[in-house]
Amino acid sequence: MTRKVSLRVVEVGVPVGLVALWWFLSDTDFTSYYFPALRDIWASFRATWLFARVGSDVVPTMAGICLGYVISVVLGVTLGVILGSFPRLNEFVNPLLEFLRALPAIAAVPIFIVLIGVSLRMEVAVVTFAALWPILLNVSDAVAGVDPVVRDTSRSYRIRSFDRLVRVTLPSASPQIVAGMRVALTQSIIIIIVSELIVSARGIGHYIQTAQWNFDITAMWSGMILIGLIGFVLSKLFQVFEYKVLAWHRGLHGKAQR
């Protein structure tokens, strides 16, 4: 109990302490053009992101992440279930999929720009392209690897194919599906910022790029901090989702360890 409390203190205390340290160190006489005082960054942050540019820059970026991510989850799970259920088909397309996964999605951004043009649609497509492969490959792996006893059980009890999918195959694959989704979420955030940095008329990435062009280093920092915060919040939300979905898996594992 006390250990748990002290862990919490460290977990919250260390980041807060580091920020405080940054705040006071950057507030001294030492000034660097590239490392502005945190006080100034915070002022810029408040002026920009609370909430002047939320509609013009934050919303487009978030829309790109969310739409692309949701599409890649739906597509990845669907295709993954199909590939996992037909080992022959999987064998056939697997080299291609491995190649596409190995290809950094960033390298594909120019193609998407040429194909679709600079738009939200392009960003969604790019995010989908980046996030799809880790999900797809994890799902097809997990579905192909469902425990034979689980298969035999559902066959001998003549469980309907819909129930078999929704109540047997997908839950059985869920630890791996969630692992793929976690990787995909990080990928989504990275790729949207990169594509905004390369070419875009709006978005947080574009804001940072413009700030750099204008030598507004403080504004750059505020954009970076915002991206960091968004990534942090999304990963925390994902943790909550994971905690709920995989409660059974944690219980099963916790028991096996004891």
């Binding site: 006893v149 066959r155 001998s156 009890y157 309907r160 059985s172 898996h249 099963l252």
Partner: protein, 300 residues
């Protein structure tokens, strides 16, 4: 009657004369492709099982007991011969059949609570409402003494309780045929005899035709009306031994009956003689007989 018929074939015929069998295994053979030649596991297996009979299948380890059960359950297609339920040849897991696996930890779904595990197969019956499914499942769980565990996850229960959930899941389907593949092999001795009695009671009460695959000779005699001894290479039915013990079995009194001990010896001898006939006895690295051989265990 033709004198050229073997004793099995005669038994086969006489069963047919009395009542049509619930299950008929007819000339079943199973072989797998192995490198360049086919490896035959089962050959020419004939078993007739009258309705409501409890039979056990025993045999040395590797004899193909589980393969035979998988063929009877329709999970595997035999390479020759047929399995008939009520005279109809099966091509997949038939309705009104329930299967209990040895490994309850894997055959119960850890992501579903106990009740959901039991109701899942019932969802195939579209006539049942969710309430009716739950009621059926709860009744089945009550029959195995698990009314309190309904809302727990399987992994929160002990091994014996988990296997009782599996029994309840089978029971809820109201099967006419119950197949069990070494169902008590993963629980401790006390739990094992409790589960044996539970299953016996349930099979009687619900008038099920039951096939039990086991490696435990005592269990095969204690539980069944007839013991099928598998042996030979490739495996076939080596001996059919009728168990004419009183229908009401008791762990203490039944097992101390001289008839029980005589039957147990007979089954043991049958298992061991077909093993000697079919290959070298199982020895450990030092050339000593393995523990299972010393204990007179028929092997897993």
């Amino acid at each position: 009657m033709n004198n050229a018929l073997s004793s099995e074939e005669r038994a086969h015929l006489s069963d047919r004369a009395v009542a049509p069998p619930k299950i008929r295994v007819d000339g079943l053979a199973m072989s797998y492709a192995a490198r360049n030649a086919a490896r035959t596991v089962l050959e020419n297996v004939h078993i007739d099982i009258p309705a409501r009979q409890f039979i056990s299948i025993v045999g040395h380890s590797g004899a193909g007991k589980t393969t035979l059960l998988r063929c009877i359950s329709g999970l595997e297609r035999s390479t020759a011969g047929s399995v008939r339920f009520d005279g109809k040849e099966i091509s997949g897991p038939p309705e009104k059949l329930a299967l209990i696996f040895q490994d309850y930890g894997r055959s119960l779904f850890p992501w579903l609570r106990v009740l959901a595990n039991v109701t899942l197969p019932l969802r195939a019956d579209k006539k049942l409402t969710a309430k009716q499914r739950a009621a059926t499942a709860e009744a089945a769980l009550e029959a195995v003494g698990l009314s309190d565990a309904v809302h727990q996850y399987p992994w929160q229960l002990s091994g014996g309780m988990q296997q009782r959930v599996a029994i309840a899941r089978a029971l809820a389907c109201e099967p006419e045929v119950l197949l069990m593949d070494e169902p008590f092999a993963s629980v401790d001795a006390q739990t094992r005899s409790d589960l044996e009695d539970l299953v016996l009671g349930i099979c009687r009460r619900y008038r099920m035709t039951t096939i039990l695959v086991t490696h435990d000779v005592d269990e095969s005699v204690y539980m069944s009306d007839r013991v099928v001894v598998l042996g030979g290479r490739p495996t076939t039915v080596a001996e059919l031994i009728d168990v004419d013990l009183p229908a009401d079995r008791d762990q203490v009194t039944t097992k101390s009956l001289p008839e029980f001990i005589a039957l147990r010896t007979r089954v043991l001898q049958a298992v061991r003689s077909v093993r000697r006939a079919s290959g070298p006895p199982v020895r450990d690295a030092q050339g000593r007989p393995t523990a299972s051989e010393r204990n007179g265990d028929a092997g897993a």
